[in-house]
């Protein structure tokens, strides 16, 4: 532990630890280039120090909301794509595709935002922060659940599915799409490896919602199973077996 520079006030009995102050100073942004670089390298290398830094970032995070958003010029997105090496693949596509993709993305955002309320309602509010030393999570914290993308044939996402095996539910978040011109409706199927599809009922084309999985099927909510969506006549759901075309599918990730 370093001693404070001359002329500086002492910290009583040596508390609080230097690391706690260093973490706070790193987050606040008051360190000059040299000390800042040193502190960042420690953050990369030492998990105890990284946790202190994380905790300070959380404490001061509400201030980030005070900063007004500023519209980003389009060239930044173009530059990011170029830097990631994506231009060659998608650059040749038509302007229509681009606008369609943009529309779909915007709709996805709206849809995802709508489900935020549901999720926030379900997840307990963060409440008071834990004491700084006990930064580690409670253990019950599930973290982000794995998400299965149910993609169309062209690879674009149709639905995002978040499987909660414990509760036996699947949260379905659609990328909004137009209704079927023939009046058919999307039906969700769970296909365990080597078995016949089992219906999980209808899914929405524009709203996020939770699908209950029958108790006898919950064991099949496992990696290796496939979630697929077909277009079916609205009457008689859930159907015994699919009759229409598969419009989106993806392998379950647990």
């Amino acid at each position: 532990m370093s001693t404070p520079p001359p002329g500086e006030e002492q910290w009583g009995t040596g508390e609080p630890p230097d690391d706690e102050l260093l973490a706070a100073e790193l987050v606040l942004g008051v360190l000059g280039a040299g000390p800042r670089g040193d502190a960042q390298r420690r953050r990369e290398a030492e998990s105890a120090f990284a946790q202190r830094v994380d905790a300070w970032e959380r404490r001061l995070a509400p201030w980030l909301l005070d900063i007004e958003p500023v519209a980003v010029p389009d060239r930044v997105w173009t530059a990011i794509r170029a830097q990631l090496g994506w231009e060659s693949r998608d650059g040749a596509r038509s302007g229509l595709w681009r606008s369609l993709a943009f529309w779909r993305t915007a709709s996805l955002l709206a849809s995802l935002a709508a489900v935020a309320a549901i999720l926030i309602g379900r997840v307990p509010a963060p409440g008071p922060q834990p004491p700084p030393v006990a930064v580690s999570p409670t253990g019950a914290e599930p973290g982000a659940k794995p998400v299965t993308t149910l993609a169309h044939d062209d690879g674009s996402p149709g639905w995002l599915a978040s499987v909660d095996r414990t509760r036996g539910t699947v949260l379905m978040v659609p990328v909004p799409s137009a209704p079927d011109s023939q009046g058919r409706v999307p039906e969700l199927w769970l296909i365990p490896p080597g078995q016949a599809p089992r219906s999980l009922g209808l899914v929405s084309i524009d709203k996020a919602h939770t699908v209950e999985v029958p108790a006898d099927l919950r064991a099949a909510l496992a990696s290796g199973s496939v979630l697929a969506i077909t277009l079916e006549p609205p009457a008689g759901v859930p159907h015994i077996a699919p009759t229409g075309p598969i419009i989106a599918k993806g392998s379950v990730r647990i």
Binding site: A24, A33, E57, P62, L64, L65, I80, L109, V123, P126
Partner: protein, 192 residues
């Protein structure tokens, strides 16, 4: 403007941003684009606030998002919210860049008396703000005025101890002491 849909992300740990980040970690480009559309304006605001120069802020934002693409798997929903993680990343990269630039022109003299008037948040922002923010502001108000002003100035402008000392024409040792004590007081108030 999709940004407004995401400001509530500070309030929950399992919101769409977290879901998008987990998809980005798997290499999902659509999720990355959705994340960009949903957060880039807010993150650009953060970069611009620290750097003030638009070209520098644009380059920094670009760096932030390429980092997000490569390192989304490092996001830990148990330790942070997505918006906190992204915002901190944007602010960190901006301050890094600021430090790498030639010394910036002297910032305006910081008049602590004037800084006492907290610019505050707009009504819209206040409506969006989580209780976390209210708590932070309440705790900040308990600090001695000069500590509060210094901490805010440091946070929003990325000023170093040296710059702050020059701006308020006080010895650097005093500045450090005020800020450090203020930070610890803040922590004690936030986590009694």
């Amino acid at each position: 403007m999709p940004d407004s849909n995401f400001t509530n992300s500070l309030a929950g740990r399992d919101t769409p941003l977290e879901m998008l980040l987990s998809q980005v970690a798997l290499g999902n480009r659509a999720a990355f684009e959705a994340l960009y559309r949903g957060t880039s304006n807010r993150l650009f605001g953060i970069c611009l606030r620290v750097l003030t120069d638009r070209a520098e802020a644009e380059e920094t934002l670009q760096e932030v998002f390429t980092t997000v693409w490569r390192k989304a798997s490092q996001f830990d929903a148990a330790r942070s919210t997505a918006m906190t993680w992204l915002g901190a990343l944007a602010r960190n990269r901006s301050i890094d860049r600021l430090r790498a630039l030639p010394a910036r022109a002297a910032l305006a003299t910081l008049d602590l008396a004037q800084e006492l008037e907290d610019p505050g948040a707009s009504p819209v922002q206040q409506a969006e703000a989580s209780t976390d923010r209210e708590r932070l502001e309440r705790c900040l108000r308990q600090l001695e005025a000069r500590r509060r002003s210094l901490i805010r100035a440091a946070f929003f402008e990325g000023s170093t101890y040296e710059e702050l000392a020059a701006r308020i024409q006080a010895p650097i040792g005093s500045i450090k002491s005020w800020i450090r004590r203020g930070l610890l007081q803040l922590r004690a108030c936030l986590e009694p």
